[in-house]
């Protein structure tokens, strides 16, 4: 006896269900097709959402990992002191603390003059990369030039530039930053901290390895520095990414909702098919009841039919959804393996479960109707 035979022996409703479905293959196939489409719609629209979200967060980069701490002028603070920086360092578990001085200055190169933002950063290597030259871990002399500025003024590493009345040798041109950034370097010049006359810092950037770590740091800094008065304000880009994530969450729910409509339609078609087939088999079900098959067993049998339709439809729907996901992710973000991201597997699983549940629910009414018909009525010719 094969495994399938043994299963059938255990669950006789399944044997009957399978046979009944194979009686009118075309009709069963069409009903299952409805479920296939519904499952495919839910799963692939869900996956489409994941793809959009992934594409968007690739654009945004890892800004969620950075926080910015600035003094609060309303409470009378317009500088952050060395002590504040030390406090921030102390409460930062993971991540690099980058104190920043900022002013605007006149950049002169040859005959070109330009007003630019000037950052004084001791450790720019924590934030930036160079396309040309290099970004030293400790910037003690020389300057780094933003990508846009370098292009406009035709600056290369090794050139000399003059800022107000100080002269610097350019050691690197910074990589262009496309995403949102706390300290946009594109049109700025980064110089050693010591070249500023002032003391104190206009802001401190903390770069953490993860968004969660950034968030923890932000909370710790607030607690440490703002315990008595609002000395600083802490800005988290994480709150922006959170908003964006929320948006995509809503978008996904919307897309999946649209997909669900097709599943409802599929449910109606299963209802129709099951109703028709139970009416056709009226006498047969009457015989079953007459020879001692209980109402509940008739219900089980018909629900098993509906469930099998859902299972088959769900299976093929899931297979098609995976194929669609592979194509979609290859085309949109050139990473087909994103199809197997946990979120997507969840969508596929959910879609299959929805498909089966819809089918079984649609089978309920026909099952109930068939089971409660009196065998005497059903057997009268």
């Amino acid at each position: 006896m094969s495994l399938l035979d043994r299963l059938y022996r255990r669950v006789p409703a399944l044997v009957m269900a399978r046979r009944n479905l194979s009686r009118n293959r075309l009709r069963s196939a069409l009903a299952a097709l409805g479920i296939i489409i519904g499952v495919l719609a839910i799963a692939s629209l869900g996956m489409f959402g994941t793809t959009l979200r992934t594409g968007a967060s690739e654009q945004l980069g890892d800004i969620g990992n950075e926080i910015s701490i600035t003094p609060n002028p309303e409470a009378g603070f317009d500088r952050l002191t060395d002590r504040d920086v030390a406090d921030i360092r102390r409460v930062t578990d993971e991540g690099v603390v980058v104190p920043v001085r900022q002013r605007s200055g006149t950049l002169t190169r040859g005959k070109d003059r330009r007003i630019t933002t000037v950052y004084g950063i001791e450790n720019p290597g924590a934030l930036y990369e160079a396309t040309d030259g290099r970004v030293p871990d400790r910037l003690r002399q020389g300057a780094l030039v933003g990508a846009t500025l370098a292009e406009q003024l035709d600056i290369e590493p090794g050139n000399r530039i003059t800022l107000d009345n100080q002269s610097f040798r350019v050691v690197g041109v910074l990589e262009e930053e496309n995403g949102i950034s706390l300290l946009s370097p594109n049109s700025a010049v980064v110089v050693p901290m010591e070249s500023f006359d002032e003391r104190g810092y206009s802001q401190v950037v903390v770069k953490s390895p993860t968004g969660t770590a950034a968030n923890e740091t932000a909370m710790a800094v607030r607690e440490e520095l703002n315990d008595r008065e609002e000395k600083v304000s802490v800005f988290e880009l994480g709150s922006i990414t959170e908003g964006i994530n929320q948006f995509f969450g809503i978008l996904n729910a919307f897309l999946v909702g649209i997909g669900s409509i097709s599943l409802v339609v599929a449910g109606v078609s299963i209802l129709n098919v099951m109703l028709m087939s139970t009416i056709e088999r009226r006498q047969e079900i009457g015989v079953l009841r007459a020879v001692g098959v209980q109402k509940l067993d008739v219900v089980r049998m018909i629900l098993a039919e509906a469930g099998l339709l859902g299972l088959v439809g769900g299976f093929f729907g899931a297979v098609l959804a995976v194929l669609a996901g592979l194509v979609l992710n290859q085309v949109v973000i050139s990473d087909p393996w994103l199809t197997f991201a946990p979120a997507n597997l969840l969508y596929i699983g959910l879609a299959v479960v929805f498909g089966i549940v819809t089918s079984v629910l649609s089978g309920l009414y026909p099952a109930w109707k068939a089971a409660t018909e009196r065998p005497v009525e059903a057997l009268r010719k």
Partner: protein, 240 residues
Amino acid sequence: MPIIELEGVWKRYESGTETVEALKDVNFAAEPGEFVAIMGPSGSGKSTMLNVLGLLDVPSEGVVRLDGRDVTDLTDEEMTTQRKRAIGFVFQNFFLIPTLSATENVEVPTLFGTDPTARERATRLLERVGLGDRLDHRPDQLSGGQKQRVAIARALVNEPRIVLADEPTGNLDRKTGRDVLELFTELKTEEDVAVIAVTHDDQLRQYADRVVNLVDGVLTEEGAEADAGTEPETTEEFGT
């Protein structure tokens, strides 16, 4: 002791304004090993009576006893259980399930139970009714007489005490009908069941132990001087 008994059974159908009385104060009993024929004109209440005997329908008035036990007021579930345990049905139109093989059709009444010997019993019964070489044929591959023999095997698979047959020969020619009736007379003693058959068919008279007449819902026992108790002279063996 009678296996099944009707006592003062009335059956009324209310349809709109008028009431049809299909059974009027019917008293009836059948013993195991007995072949009873219910005869009567169309519309006289034969099917109605068989449905009441088969626990498919409940009387408007009166008592139904199965094995001495009052089963008139059982729930649907209990009636179904009693049908499965004690009663087999044979219908005029066979009512076999077209997608199932002969063996599977015979197994249908055991299907929703967990009896591991069902397959064996089904095969044995099919061999007994002469269809040992048709076990895997589907109904559309069988003749009318063969179908009815599958139906008889199905009626017997749960080892019932009563077999109820509504016009079992109604869709068969005379010769095939006779074979089926002969089978009933053999099986009633072999399986120790009461066979109760409804019929228009006059040739049934010679196979039955007893004939009751139903006219307009009133049941009368046919005189003892009739052919009751006459065994047919020829008994063909079926199968191998």
